[in-house]
Symmetry: C2
Subunit: 449 residues, 2 copies
């Protein structure tokens, strides 16, 4: 039996590296194949990264894997968002109640940490520079090409996990199966990485206790803190149209754009023009597919199964939650993989679809609504309701980021809570009465409805 | 200039063959490459066909191509649907008004006819046994492999049309482009071709003036007449579940299924058991993608751009309408392809998405609703309204099948007309008053709303 506890993982990204720890802890011998060269030595290729926001679902997985303490060292708490107005005004809005936060983590830093942790386990082996060419489904064989020598080789395994990301070669093999449902949908917006460097003394130039947002209606800039004193910034902007990457080709255009929309950022970002020109403009898309598996031999998890846009900060958290759920199914079915995979594929895609939808919705919230006083007032009411009626009310944001409620349940709550919001807006002088009895009355009425 | 009027068409199916006629009539030299061997000699591979229903949009294209008369010889008018009850009762319901019909055409017969017509034109050349391996987009080059010799060759052309169907290799090349949106969604139902042969004297065993339906709620059988006296039948049934292809594995199961649900069919279909076992069970899916083109060099039309399920009988009609629309854009822009393709891709995908949705909706209508007396009553009211208020009312079915109204407009009318249906159902004794003043009053009220 011990002999049979073997698995191949394709992709040593965040989910692949974490999943190798889960399997290794259960006694599996795990071989992880990764296209890139070993980023512990080579460094993580930068220039197109968006910082990650680790939240409750992610922490739970990290904790089960037994590596919470190590990850805490590279994570910076962000208990709220800080909105930067056009007039350089600052507005702070907490994400949850006292003590709750999401955590800024650099993708490269976290990935390196996870690979280090996994590689210290004696039953995990990493194989870098191995580009997956596909999986021969009938023969449980993954094919790889060494990116340095060009040599091809094949690995047979009864358990192959595709954690090879949004453009997954493993998924492409599944796609050739009859009746495979698949969708890839791009949004009309791209993103570009920028940087706010540390002060000369290594300290941060802005408050680290927040995710900074410059909401500008149809576009936005965000900044998340790093442990080295810098902030990783991301500009989200339409590819085409009046204000778009298409119309920011010349130096003067880029400078004028920053001067007009982000005047307070320019002094913090001395190399914004160089970075803008040098860093690529990347696209954002959603991937949905079904089934996620071939029999009980091959299973997609993480972005390979369900890539989403980054606006709810849930891509990694959702992938990590895949690991948590599979782990609990391994208990439930005593590692009987046909049952584990059947139940996983019966339930999990609905939640992955839900967070995909929520992430698309949250883009509008981040780039536009957070600048609306009504929205900020609603956030205050929400917080008040959640504190006063903790058993009866939880905001959608909180369900997603601070709970383990299925994403599909959070998605279902969106329309209900929007209805509550509109009812609350009918209250006279809500601005000064947002903890008053009228708020409670409307809430009770809504709850009963 | 004459030298430049050259085009390559990948796929000699219905749309590819028709489109070659359109282009040849305008003086283009057209090379059509087809994976299959020449079906004029080899015959059309049968066993997985669903008869086609040529309707107004298809006829228009056929007429512009100048081949209406030839196609009329292989088309049988079906002015209505004939519902076969479980008790062998027959219910007839006309599709439109007097003189309107959809036309049963066998796919193989029509395809052969179209290739013959095109091949008689001196500037069209067909190349059979040429499997497309993909298109090199940057170099406007389509690559083919001869299926007999294995030899590969490449053809360069400034204009390459992908009419290579739902599994289009040309589309697969477009799919590698950044920001390509793509979706393939299978329904849970499969289909199987069956046959009602001609009588010994060559006559039909059933009325040829109708599309025959055996609606059974969750599944259905249909039959469309052929010119040789036979009917091509199609059984649509779930792949899995209580009553499904999965549960019809043994002879006794198949026989019992037919005896229970299609008792009146058995005497007409002497080889139903053999056909059921011999013919494959095929899957049905919808393909949506965007863009349909690469610059002004490569363009997808027909199923390659928008494969749909067959329940509205519009797959071919929609592909033929692509040809009509492109033809009118060739007039509008004097054959300036960048403008033609830009406008086509700006407008046509919305209509293709609409007919995809309408086709999915119509499955429920065909397999279930047509057996509901309320639905049949509504169809009578619809017909009455369309006759009495021809400028104010047109049924969705009629918009789709008997008009050139954009499909997106027909889709928008679905919810509106459902609302009218529910209002009409409130009328007392509608069964006996469906031409009465109350119907007119409700209609006027709805119209004003």
């Amino acid at each position: 039996m011990a002999n049979e506890k073997k698995a191949v993982i394709v992709g040593a990204g965040l989910v692949g590296a974490l999943w190798s720890v889960f399997l290794a802890k259960r006694g599996y011998t795990v071989d992880v194949y990764e296209r890139r060269s070993d980023f512990r030595q080579a460094g993580y290729i930068g220039g197109r990264s968006i910082n990650l926001a680790l939240s409750e679902r992610g922490w739970k997985a990290v904790e089960i894997a037994g590596i919470r303490e190590k990850i805490e060292q590279v994570a910076i708490p962000m208990p709220g968002r800080m909105m930067h107005g056009l007039d350089s005004s600052l507005t702070y809005q907490p994400y949850g109640h006292e003590g709750q936060a999401i955590y800024s983590v650099s993708r490269g830093g976290l990935n390196i940490e996870l690979v280090k942790i996994a590689d210290e386990m004696e039953n995990v082996r990493f194989h870098f520079n191995q580009a997956c060419l596909g999986v021969d489904l009938e023969n449980n064989t993954a094919r790889f090409q060494d990116t340095r020598t060009g040599a091809e080789h094949a690995i047979e395994s009864d358990l192959i996990f595709g954690t090879d990301g949004a453009f997954s070669p493993v998924r492409q093999s599944l796609q050739k199966l009859p009746r495979f449902n698949y969708s890839q949908q791009y949004i009309d917006y791209g993103y570009k990485e920028l940087c706010i460097p540390a002060n000369a003394d290594g300290s941060h130039q802005m408050d680290t206790g927040a995710l900074h947002i410059w909401p500008r209606g149809q576009f936005m800039l965000i900044a998340l803190p790093n442990v080295d004193g810098s902030f990783t910034c991301t500009l989200f902007l339409a590819f085409d149209g009046e204000i778009s990457f298409e119309t920011l080709k010349k130096d003067e255009q880029v400078t004028a754009f920053f001067e007009k929309y982000f005047p307070d950022v320019i002094p913090l970002m001395p190399t914004f023009l160089e970075d803008f020109k040098q860093n690529p403009t990347s696209a954002l898309h959603t991937v949905r597919c079904n089934p996620w598996h071939y029999r009980s031999k091959v299973l997609l998890i993480g972005d390979a199964a369900h890539a989403i846009v980054p606006f709810f900060g849930q891509g990694m958290n959702c992938g990590f939650e895949d690991c948590t759920i599979l782990d609990s199914l391994m208990d439930k079915y005593e590692e009987h993989w046909p049952s584990i995979i059947e139940e996983f594929n019966a339930n999990r895609p609905e939640d992955a679809n839900a967070i995909a939808d929520l992430a698309l919705l949250n883009f509008i919230e981040m780039r536009d609504k957070v600048a609306d006083p009504k929205f900020l007032l609603w956030k205050k009411v929400e917080k008040h309701l959640a504190e006063k009626f903790p058993n009866e009310f939880q905001s959608v944001y909180s369900m997603v980021s601070f709970s383990h409620v299925p994403y599909s349940q959070a998605l279902a709550a969106v329309a209900q809570q929007e209805d509550l919001f509109h009812r609350m807006l009918q209250i006279k002088d809500l601005e000064s009465n947002w903890t008053g009895p009228e708020v409670e009355r409307v809430f009770r009425e809504w709850l009963a409805g």
